[in-house]
């Protein structure tokens, strides 16, 4: 997962930035001894604000960027979201555009551990704006939508094509809002589960989360909420 160390600007009290860590909505101070009603009330308020406003905004933000993880602080509270391991973050070492890979001598022999470490390093080194891919939902034969063309704007969930599994079509869907980029697989080709099929370019304003832009980004996200 991308782990560019950028904690945003903490002086604003609210900050957004990609961080390493675990999936958690971590609690703030825990009331010690006898619970104070006012504090409990405050905590409940904070929880409902997190659940009702902050989290949906974070989820939208996370799916609109190539970030693997995002964190927000709000007073004593912080919420951290991480994308689950899924087809859209297939390790870069995985094959592209082929339904089945040929022998990869040295892959095993390089010993899994070294290989794994190398891959993790690659992942860390990758920019946060890594391309987003629409992937195959199943093993079968791929057919893109007839009218699909590079440059076309799509919304998350839009059907981009199908994979035919023994006569049953399963939809290939856009994982995010964006613009259709290069296709990696020809129509009629056999594809495997999770195979990257179409590159989705992100709209300019959702791209990039550098140090100077992070405050504005954070404000924009939380402003929507």
């Amino acid at each position: 997962m991308p782990q560019s160390r950028n904690d945003g600007n903490a002086t604003t009290g609210r900050s957004v930035g990609p961080r390493a860590g675990t999936v958690a909505a971590a609690g703030g101070p825990v009331a010690g001894g006898r619970a104070l009603d006012s504090r409990t009330e405050r905590d409940h308020e904070a929880i409902s604000r997190l659940a009702g406003d902050v989290l949906p905004a974070l989820i939208a933000k996370l799916s609109a960027t190539g970030l693997g993880e995002i964190e927000v602080r709000d007073g004593d509270w912080k919420a951290r979201l991480r994308k689950p391991a899924g087809p859209d973050r297939v390790a870069p070492g995985a094959k592209e555009g082929h339904s089945a890979h040929g022998p990869v001598p040295g892959r095993v022999l390089a010993a899994g551990m070294a290989e794994r470490e190398r891959r993790q390093e690659q992942e860390i080194a990758e920019p946060a704006t890594r391309p987003i891919m629409a992937t195959s939902p199943a093993v079968g034969v791929y057919q893109p939508r007839k009218d699909l063309a590079a440059g076309m704007r799509v919304r998350a969930g839009d059907r981009l094509g199908t994979v035919d599994v023994l006569g049953v079509r399963e939809d290939v869907v856009a994982p995010v809002d964006g613009v259709i980029g290069v296709g990696l697989t020809e129509a009629g080709e056999a594809v495997e589960y999770g195979q990257e099929l179409i590159r989705i370019e992100l709209p300019e304003n959702a791209r990039g989360l550098d140090a100077s832009g992070s405050d504005r980004e954070a404000a924009a996200v939380l402003g929507e909420a």
Binding site: S99, A100, V139, G140
Partner: protein, 454 residues
């Protein structure tokens, strides 16, 4: 013969099937789930294809995913290995409907032997003694009447179950009453079928199974027996052949009866007939396994027959090519199932990274394992890491070789049962060849674990 086989399984058996394909000169495609992308079989294969996510229901257990993978990679047969779809008659039928061959018994044969209860009646009619049992239970009242007739203790068994899963031992009518409902709902949840039956529980029994092979032309052979009495909660831990429980005359008689029964009952391909042998030496048929079994290597070691290759050849419609007199068992073989379970913590399954792995070697030593240093054992599947099998001219030497090999075997980073195996080998009951299936459960594993830690 087939031109290309899809291997629809994982772990050590995927590797085993790949090896058989290569020896036969047949192409192979390894189908893997997302969690097995780094598996040894997927990496060693000439071709590999991801068929679904880690969840087996959407990958190794998904008939459409497996068959679609076979179709798009141009395979003409599917090898299901063991577990997963290996004994699923409906799957075998759909495979055939897509013009492919299921490597195992044909769909209608699997169908005929799908119900354990019906199978027991069928083999009874063909001359095998079965454990006294009930018909399918209608309800609790029926169960109580049947249990009374058979005599306690009895086992409550799910008809669709296997590998000891879902079985319950009850010693009184009160225990039966309280266990009946739970067993029924467990069977429903575990196997999608809540049919239950009762079987008399034979105390101090031994588990002995006969390996058979029958071709499409109705010619059958047996390849001797395996003794799988070292069990914990009905899960096999150590298997050996020949069985210390049988003398030569009893072995010949049981094997001959078994192969005659399967041929007469219309069985086809590899099969294993499981028997319980009571204290008097009487053998009772309990079930047939219509697949290649985990413990097949010990039979291969004493007979020299490549059983997976034989299974593939039979499925391709070839005749056996050998007769009973060609099957000669030589020496003694023992298999140790190496699992990622912590004997000190109630055998809790372990997952995680193998930091270092060293496979043992030497005369008569065979290791079937998908491990390598750096391999991440996924938490989604069973805990089997591999099988260490040893062969020697006699049982005592086989035990000595087993111990030497276990001392060499290194799986760093995970807690395994290697020490438990060594402790069992050092146990007098095992040395005397007198282990019964209830031994580990009766005395508990603790004394063995403690002995292993010394």
């Amino acid at each position: 013969m087939f031109s290309k086989i899809l291997i629809a399984n994982r772990g050590e058996i995927a590797l085993r099937i790949l090896r058989a394909c290569r020896t036969l000169g047949v192409g192979a495609v390894v189908a893997y789930s997302e969690a097995d992308r780094d598996s040894l079989a997927a990496q060693l294969a000439d071709e590999a294809i991801c068929i679904g996510p880690a969840d087996a229901r959407r990958s190794y257990l998904s008939a459409p995913a497996v068959i679609s993978a076979a179709v798009v990679t141009g395979c003409d047969a599917i090898h299901p290995g063991y577990g997963f779809l290996s004994e699923d008659a409906a799957f075998a039928d759909v495979v055939r409907a897509h013009g492919l061959t299921f490597i195992g018994p044909p769909a209608e044969v699997l169908e005929r032997f799908a119900s354990k209860e019906a199978t027991r009646r069928l083999f009874e009619a063909h001359g095998l003694r079965t454990v006294p049992g009930s018909t399918m239970l209608r309800d609790e009242a029926h169960a109580l009447v049947e249990a009374e007739r058979i005599g306690y203790p009895v086992l409550i068994k799910p008809s669709a179950g296997g590998g000891g899963k879902g079985m319950r031992l009850v010693r009184t009518s009160a225990e039966l009453e309280s266990a009946f409902k739970v067993s029924r709902s467990e069977a429903k949840a575990g196997f999608g079928d809540d049919s239950l039956y009762l079987e008399k529980y034979l105390e101090d029994n031994r588990h002995v199974e006969i390996q058979v092979a029958v071709d499409r032309f109705g010619r059958g052979i047996h390849m001797g027996e395996r003794d799988c009495s070292v069990q914990r909660r009905h899960q096999k831990i150590i298997e050996e052949t020949p069985s210390p429980a049988l003398n030569e005359a009893a072995r010949q008689e049981l094997c001959t009866r078994a192969v005659r029964a399967v041929v007469e009952a219309g069985y086809e391909n590899l099969g294993t007939l499981e028997f319980l042998i009571d204290a008097k030496g009487d053998a009772y048929f309990i079930e047939i396994n219509c697949r290649i079994q985990v413990e097949h290597p010990i039979t291969e070691m004493v007979t020299g027959i490549d059983m997976v290759a034989l299974q593939i050849r039979i499925a391709a419609g070839e005749p056996l090519g050998i007769g009973q007199s060609d099957v000669v068992s030589r020496g003694h073989a023992i298999e140790f199932r190496i699992v990622a379970e912590d004997p000190g913590k109630d055998f809790r399954p372990q997952a995680g990274q193998v930091l270092g792995y060293l496979s043992p070697g030497g005369v008569g030593v065979r290791m079937d394992s998908h491990l390598y240093s750096g391999y991440e054992v996924p938490s989604y599947y069973d805990s089997l890491l591999g099988k260490l099998s040893v062969w020697a001219p006699g049982r005592a030497e086989a035990i000595a070789r087993g111990d030497a090999a276990l001392r060499e075997l290194l799986v760093d980073g995970l807690t395994t049962n290697i020490d438990l195996h060594r402790a069992i080998l050092a146990n007098q009951v095992f040395i005397d060849g007198k282990v019964t299936t209830n031994l580990l459960d009766r005395v508990g594993s603790a004394p063995f674990v403690a002995a292993g830690n010394r």
